[in-house]
Amino acid sequence: MKTKALKAAFPHTLPICIGFLFLGMSYGFLMRSKGFSFVYPMLMSLFIFAGSMEFVTINLLLSAFHPLYGFFLALMVNARHLFYGISMLEKYKNTGWKKAYLIFGMCDESFSIHCAVKPPPGVDKGWFLFFITLLNQIYWVSGATLGALLGYVIHFDTTGIEFVMTALFVVMFLNQWEDHAKHRPALTGLFCALLSLLACGADRFILPAMALIVLCLSVSRKKSPKQSP
């Protein structure tokens, strides 16, 4: 039963494999270039398992100690998981002990496959979903670890390599821009953050920015109640 589910799941994860190895490696390599041991990207990719937040955590680790910032930032950056979770309430039903792992490993990519793909006839749904999540996590953790290990042997001027994080977010921004007809939420996030940054400075703008974003989004919902989905 397990082999059958694994065989059915594997082809769906192949495109993710390439992307995760590439991004995971650049994440691991970046951490190594900032002086962290490979254990950090390995464990962070295993336990956080949310790409953008892992990049952000590098910054947190390099600045002053503010664990509450980390917590709230993770809530905000990963708020999309709430939405994913709400859409997966039905699908993850009756999957037994695997349900906890499916929720733990619910990254954007696993979620998108889970949304789009149904297990073929005769394949157990729980194991099928489980292997998609597991394979994706294996790609990501391997990529991050491998990238950091490469950082020990390959040496070149890495000045500016941290821009990979900005590049990732810009491309994510462009992709969601294409995918959504309404651009107000994206622009709200962009301008509320910029305004808070200019008003409060780089070290203190995160919480005001998050509060402002939630406030603006709530106000714009009240103004146009019919627009809420």
């Binding site: 590439f22 100690f65 993770a74 709430l82 309430l89 390599i161 959504h180 939420p185 780089a202 989905p229």
Partner: protein, 108 residues
């Protein structure tokens, strides 16, 4: 930051991340539908968070010697390349290499 502080920071991030993943399943077990306001936030926050992240990743560049000029040039290249080829990995790779070139040659 000391190692225990690093571990605490990572744990707080893990906790925040896991809360976003487990909360819906804890709040709405078996068929309970979430309130409209929560579903609304769930539908608009993802896009807003990406906009926030773009600014977050530029937070130090704005106040640097060049006020974000190399960053803006690289973002322009990414936007053009992404419009043209729509290849996520190509856009990220080329944008990063271009920025590294700028940061190591023209914008020292």
């Amino acid at each position: 930051m000391t190692t225990p502080q690093r571990i605490l920071t990572i744990l707080s991030v893990v906790l925040g991340t896991m809360l976003t993943r487990f909360l819906p399943f804890l709040l709405f077990p078996e068929g309970k539908t979430p309130p409209k306001y929560i579903s609304y936030l769930g539908s608009v926050l993802p896009c807003a968070a990406i906009g926030f992240l773009v600014i977050y990743s530029l937070k130090d560049a704005v106040f640097s010697a060049f006020h974000g000029l190399p960053e803006i040039l690289s973002i322009l290249l990414i936007a053009l390349l992404h419009r043209w080829r729509k290849n996520t990995l190509l856009s990220i790779g080329a944008g990063t290499v271009f920025y590294m070139y700028l940061a190591q040659t023209w914008f020292l």
